[in-house]
Point group: C3
Chain length 336, copies 3
């Protein structure tokens, strides 16, 4: 693999290319290259809050000898408009049609975080907003989380399972968990695809009404078909967790109530029991790992006993964000 | 030209000195100096929002081997008081009389952004607030936009016209355009002066009631007299744009309603037609360039057809911000 | 002294160790080491506003060849929960139990600022919140101000007095001053201890009801006993300031009304006269220095005539923040 143009979706890479990228990540840990990206600048545009992404991309660039700058509309920078054709007489002073090429002109690669708008499911599934922005960027682009993708998280999670020697064909359970309100589909979509692409036996566990959209399941199944994996879904926790190697918890909103806060609130009101506890693991493998992308609401989505217990790999996943992103940056800015 | 002490106003430089500075900017592009400012630190104090200035100064320092830090009162940093003699029992916890010398002690040069207060026209024309702060700074100082100046923007715009081979004596139209509310006089004042100092035939096109203050026009005319240029003003769009080489759009508030939001709203209510469209260019030169400092409100100040069309130079102007600022930083921190 | 593990409290160091650290600070000024921390990364987590700490730690790392990243919950980053066992169904999306080890994984040392909660005096005196966070950090940790400590400020103030040749046994008056509301005990606690540890004749001057808590006075007295200094307290301004070498002003809330805004407001209503003016210095030494940690509310806590007059050392104190912190970072990340 040579220089890659963008890092937008793990599905843009073959399974072997992902494995190669993870090998580079490991290599950069074993044999640091503190000047590989000397003189290179990463621009980071955050339309949404961040902790891991914000810190790990800056630190990753610094560990490779490069630098980064951060722009956060609404926090010291003008609010931005993303819709084409907008008559801009409201709060937003600047359009991404200017902001993105301008920022790109200052840096060697640009990262953009832009969560789902959460109003029109089809538009979000099509990544309409993110792709409008991506198409404006003449420099290598990194997806820092879009409406239905989070490839940096997926790559870090893959590495985490490799480090833990989770079998390629192991059982991976992506479980819906409770949250005060609907969250985007980005991480569940990226995660189910990643586990399928890795070749795993993937089970999506979710209550009725919270099935992932067909487009997301279809993409994951296509990845499974190519890698020898499998993807299924169920609302039955006991069968889902039986013999599981990994339980990966994630909050997401119901596709049936997309953009409808009241409907969503009613739908999730009876689902407070979907808070991961040790009792969930009764029939899982004894060494079953617990994963979550963070941030996580303790004792709402996941109980303290899990997050503070021996199954939890959440800190390692987050630490791996920097490790894998260094490989991505190296490929984007340095090549092979 | 050797080390300069401050970069506050293009009028502090002779025309030849500006040309020299632009030659240095070009030289730093052709023959990068990635370690010229190694070990040098730029402090950036933003009392107002920013995108280009925030990103381009950080990136420019990084491209010269230096570093920068950003301080944004009200966004993670205490709100600051700027008035002398204030009894500080309100929201501001810190006075610039402390903040500025303290920040200056940490860096090798300081940049300050401080928009017009927009209450007292005479005070803003005299740059009272900015100069209070400038006088507190014992290190080289950069004006990141003050009440009636924006020298970094002006310098970038000059370079942009040089790149586009706009004749020194070409016709330059600064046109008022619509906006939901009054904006400061900084960019129009800096722009009319810059074009005059370059030696151009400058026309200020604005509706009745929006003539630029005498002090601003007088300063521009003095620059024109020195450079062989000319400055005039009119409310007649057709005559203004006839044979124009450049149309530079900018929003500003009426000096007649300074600090009076209601009076301003009434004055601009009928002026919605001052949104630049292709039809404006009927009598301009066929290759007439469109310029704007950004951010711009699409379809309020300027129509999509212009910003997305072949006349627009707005991205190039913004990209040139970093280029010319690198020359400024080099002069401030490195010398000749 | 070799590598130190953390920098949390000046009381963790012997007097000689503080003197050693200040000697390193001076050495780094006299003989800069611009690559000492090349490749090292400092993470900075701010749960509260900052100007000096924010800028001086970034600049200090840069002057030693390292870099830093800044994370500010609530300003572009998720709000964080700090309480153990919390059911996180409110505004905070992330718990420090995850945030701190994750951020630590990206950097070589972490700084945390976390002001007093201001509700439970015993909990704040015990540094319960800060220590919960400190115990989560596997990397060298710097206290950027906690509930009842601010060791970086104390170290800078010690250096400032050394530079001014204030005698080791000189008279040091820590005086309460007025403020619109209660402020934390961090700086008064750190300051009284620092001056005692330096060996000074320390007088705490405060109105009735504003005596510092016993735990703070006891710790200061223990430091005085070890260094040959002395600590006393009084409400009598004239006797306190007589022959003083230094007056150090600070705002703090009454321990008698801790967490009770109404009680506090009533208690401080009659104390507006506690604004430092030149008349206070009538019986002090002629060359008595005025100190304050900043930010300071002019003409509420301290009059302009003092801050702008010849006694004021407040800018020098703040400038010394960077100087001493460079020594701390050098010890934490480089060793002897």
């Amino acid at each position: 693999m040579n220089v890659i143009r963008n890092f937008l979706d793990l599905a843009d890479l073959s399974r072997d290319e992902v494995v190669d990228l993870l090998a580079l990540a490991q290599s950069l840990q074993s044999r640091p290259e503190p000047t590989a990206l000397a003189g290179k600048i990463l621009g980071l545009l955050f339309l949404n809050p961040s902790l891991r992404t914000l810190a790990s991309f800056q630190a990753g660039m610094q560990r490779l000898g490069g630098t980064a700058f951060v722009v956060t509309p609404g926090q010291g920078t003008w609010q931005v408009e993303t819709r084409d054709g907008a008559v801009m007489n409201g709060g937003a002073a600047e359009h991404v049609r200017e902001a993105i090429p301008v920022l790109a002109s200052y840096c060697d690669a640009l990262g953009i975080r832009s969560f789902a708008e959460g109003k029109d499911l089809a538009a979000d599934l099509a990544e309409e907003q993110f792709m409008r922005m991506a198409n404006l960027c003449p420099k290598p682009l990194v997806n820092l989380e879009s409406a239905v993708n989070h490839p940096c998280q997926a790559l870090a999670d893959w590495r985490t399972m490799d480090e833990l020697a989770v079998p390629r064909t192991g059982k991976f359970v992506l479980s819906w968990v409770s949250h005060p309100r609907a969250l985007p589909l980005a991480v569940p979509a990226a995660t189910v695809h990643m586990a399928a692409q890795r070749g795993m036996d993937v089970v999506v566990l979710r209550p009725e009404g919270y099935a992932l959209p067909d487009a997301i399941m279809h993409k994951a199944r296509a990845a499974a078909a190519a890698s020898g994996g499998n993807v299924s879904e169920t609302a039955d926790r006991e069968s889902a967790l039986r013999d599981a190697h990994v339980v990966y918890a994630k909050e997401w909103g119901s596709p049936l109530h997309y953009g409808d806060a009241d409907g969503e609130a009613k739908a999730r009101a009876p689902l407070g029991g979907w808070c991961v506890r040790e009792s969930w693991f009764q029939h899982a493998r004894a060494d079953c790992h617990f994963m979550h992308c963070l941030p996580v609401r303790r004792n709402v989505a996941v109980a303290d006993e899990i997050l503070d217990g021996p199954r939890s790999r959440v800190i390692r996943e987050a630490a791996n964000r920097m490790v894998v992103q260094m490989a991505v940056l190296h490929r984007l800015l340095k090549g092979n």
